[in-house]
């Protein structure tokens, strides 16, 4: 009997999986989402490359003195310069307007530098040029006073600010903020889509009245569990595929400068929280879906739950990348209703104290059985009542 009971749940789950995998919409959505992440990784790596390398032309006579100073200053600020000398100033201008050069240093006087750009000079480059010019002036003055300009330049290059923080924040990597946002979007979309799919599936069975035929052979909890597990398996496969594609593309293109272990950790946590969030939310979605009999009514009846998902998501992606250690959001991320959307973002950003990770997991694991019990009760009482929307209070009896 036990085997048959589980076998029935398996059969139901299997039907859900087969039906969705065969549908073009599911395959297309999955592939498009994965491709979007891959494209994003490529775009990011290209932008990063462009932002850090500038092609600069210098007029004849400047390459000996000004160009090395410029190169040294740029290196200190993390910029790569490709400096070429251009003998003919007219040619330099032409190359800038054609886009072959980002910048052409046309001439210098002891107190100024004239540069040619296409439309405007970006702020970073402006600062580099300013500093280079100042250093040049200092070097000239040092030489005039009989000092050693090279020694001064070396001192300037090694000058640094030492910080002594009284309460240093846990270290985080700026690009992991970006990863956090991606994780937030992924888990939000996955929970929302899978949850809606569960609710719609329940209503489909109700509106087509096939549920009556099914409940003559299977128990309500088997039907609900089979559906939730089937769609959950699909969601997990989808999430693994998309997450792996995104991270692999990110690391491969160099858009993400992460050790493989850290990357795998982010995907792992994403999957864990998807699984937990899904178990909690999907049963609730199933129960709420059972309250109505028409597809048009699904949106309305699941709104309170989707609102919770949306709140978590919006808080997560708007606050955390700016302020990863925001106290309010950190506290909220421990609460079971919000932890599935907030925790994966925090974990992707990094620096979450282990006790918070554990507490969020424990609270979530403790909540799931309660939600499942409530949901089963609502589902069982509501699923064969067709017609008008069943009131939640009646379904809980």
């Amino acid at each position: 009997m036990n085997r048959s009971v589980l076998g029935t749940v398996g059969l139901i789950a299997g039907r859900e999986i087969r039906t969705r995998v065969r549908s073009k919409a599911f395959v297309i959505t999955t592939v498009i989402t994965a491709l979007t992440l891959v494209a994003l990784a490529i775009v990011v790596s290209v932008i990063q490359g462009q932002a850090n390398t500038s092609k600069i032309g210098v007029a004849a006579g400047l390459e000996q003195r000004f160009a090395p100073v410029l190169q040294a200053v740029a290196q200190r600020t993390g910029k790569d310069l490709q400096i070429t000398s251009v003998t003919d100033p007219a040619k330099g201008r032409a190359q800038v307007s054609e886009g072959n050069l980002d910048l052409f240093v046309a001439s210098t006087t002891p107190t100024s530098v004239t540069v040619v750009v296409d439309s405007n000079l970006d702020a970073g480059m402006q600062a580099v040029l300013q500093a280079a010019l100042q250093q040049d002036i200092v070097a000239a003055e040092v030489a005039r006073l009989g000092g050693n300009p090279q020694a001064v330049a070396a001192d300037l290059a090694s000058a640094e600010v030492r910080v002594q923080a009284l309460t240093p924040p846990p270290p985080y990597d700026p690009q992991r903020l970006f990863l956090g946002v991606i994780a937030g979007i992924l888990i939000y979309l996955a929970l929302m889509l899978a949850g809606q799919m569960v609710a719609q599936g329940v209503v489909e069975e109700k509106s087509s009245r096939v549920v009556e035929l099914l409940l003559a052979t299977v128990r309500p909890w088997q039907l609900m569990t089979g559906k939730v597990l089937g769609l959950g398996t699909l969601g997990l496969i989808q999430m693994t595929f998309i997450g792996a594609a995104g991270i692999t593309a990110g690391v491969a293109t160099g858009a993400l400068d992460l050790p493989v272990a850290a990357a795998a950790g982010i995907v792992g946590w994403l999957l864990v929280w998807f699984l937990l969030g899904y178990l909690a939310y999907a049963f609730v979605f199933a129960a709420l879906g059972a309250l109505v009999s028409r597809q048009e009514d699904v949106g309305g009846v699941v709104t309170p739950v989707t609102m919770i998902l949306i709140v978590g998501y919006v808080l997560g992606v708007s606050v955390l990348p700016v302020d990863p250690y925001n106290t309010v959001v950190s506290v909220l991320s421990l609460i079971p209703a919000l932890s599935p959307t907030l925790m994966p973002i925090r974990l992707a950003i990094g620096g979450v104290p282990w006790w918070q990770t554990t507490l969020a997991l424990v609270l979530m694991l403790a909540t799931i059985p309660v939600l499942v019990a409530l949901a089963s009760r609502i589902y069982r009482n509501a699923v064969v009542r067709s017609g008008a929307k069943v009131r939640l209070r009646d379904a809980l009896r």
Binding site: L11, S208, E212, L213, A216
Partner: protein, 335 residues
């Protein structure tokens, strides 16, 4: 009542102040086709849904094979719900195979059973099509296949014939007869009373949640008002109105229909299962009427007219809507 009989024992069900079933009882015997008729909202669907466990009764019990019905026995029932229930986007073959597997058939037997029933019900050509692409009549055939695909021990079919063309009706009727011949008890509801009359071994008429008549069509006919058709061209209007035992007459073109009162003996006779007594009870009246008719001139035709199931149905429903009328009981019904 052991031996594969499906028994509904005093089922009651109310929705708030609306009484859907009021101590409804009936039994469906192995190999019997029982037609279940009643007006819309009389309680047929509610009764069937209770048998399937989709609804629970407020009181009363459903038994099968002498035992109170359980989840396990319910799975041996083939069910066709009133509102058709199939996955609209699932293919016919997949759907039937899936339903058979839910009833514990292994993959191979499930597909074989699905093939067999699509073949028999004439929808084998639609095997790969999603159900929603089929015509309503074909969807209905698939629905019946869904009820039959796990070789059920009992069939409970809510309006299996609605919306079917005559050929499909014949196919379905034959399938039901074959299942009955295998000893399966079958109960089906329908508003097509001629069909019920043709197909059913017994008929149960339900009104306002109560079983008001249950028996073979013949038995029920005897409980209905007896009518005489007299063709006496020279009879004056109202010639039979004041004869003993006459309830009502109607006269047109020399043809008089005389409705006779049901005599107490007629009903008693049927309750005892003694058809001869019943006929004898009527005899006393009709001979007097014949004599009266002959007194008016020549009589070309003088015949008993048996009420059709439709007439009976109308009469029974009319009666049950009058207060304080005891349900008609025949030998088919347990007290």
């Amino acid at each position: 009542m052991a031996d594969r009989t499906l028994v509904l024992d005093e089922l009651s069900k109310s929705y708030g102040s609306t009484v859907a079933l009021d101590r409804l009882s009936m039994d469906v015997r192995p190999g019997e086709i029982l037609g279940f008729v009643g007006s819309n909202g009389a309680g047929k669907t509610t009764a069937m849904r209770i048998v399937l466990g989709v609804l629970s009764a407020d009181s009363g019990e459903v038994r099968f094979d002498g035992e109170p019905i359980t989840f396990a026995t319910r799975r041996r029932i083939g069910y066709m719900p009133e509102e058709r229930g199939l996955y609209p986007r699932m293919r016919v073959g997949d759907q039937l195979t899936y339903l058979a597997r839910l009833h514990d058939l292994d993959a191979r037997s499930a597909e074989a059973a699905a093939r067999l029933w699509t073949e028999r019900l004439g929808v084998a050509a639609r095997w790969d099509e999603p159900v929603q692409k089929l015509s309503l009549g074909n969807q209905q055939r698939v629905q019946l296949a869904a009820a039959l695909v796990h070789e059920p021990d009992v069939l409970v079919l809510d309006e299996p014939f609605s919306g079917l063309d005559p050929v499909a009706v014949d196919v379905m009727s034959q399938v039901l007869r074959d299942k009955a011949a295998d000893g399966v008890p079958i109960v089906f509801s329908s508003h097509q009373l001629d069909l019920v009359e043709r197909l059913s071994d017994r008929v149960g008429i339900v009104a306002r949640g109560r079983m008001v008549a249950l028996g073979s069509v013949e038995e029920l006919q005897r409980t209905g008002a007896a009518e005489l058709v007299v063709v006496a061209p020279h009879a004056p209007p109202g010639w039979a109105d004041h004869l003993p035992g006459v309830v009502r007459t109607s006269q047109r073109d020399g043809r008089t229909v005389v409705e006779l009162a049901k005599t107490p003996s007629a009903i008693t006779g049927q309750a005892l299962g003694n058809a001869d007594n019943a006929d004898n009870a009527d005899d006393a009246d009709d001979q007097e009427i014949l004599a009266a008719a002959l007194a008016t001139g020549p009589v070309h035709e003088f015949a008993h007219r048996r009420p059709s199931l439709t007439d009976l149905f109308r009469a029974v429903v009319r009666e049950s809507n009058e207060p304080d009328v005891a349900p008609v009981l025949t030998k088919g019904q347990r007290r």
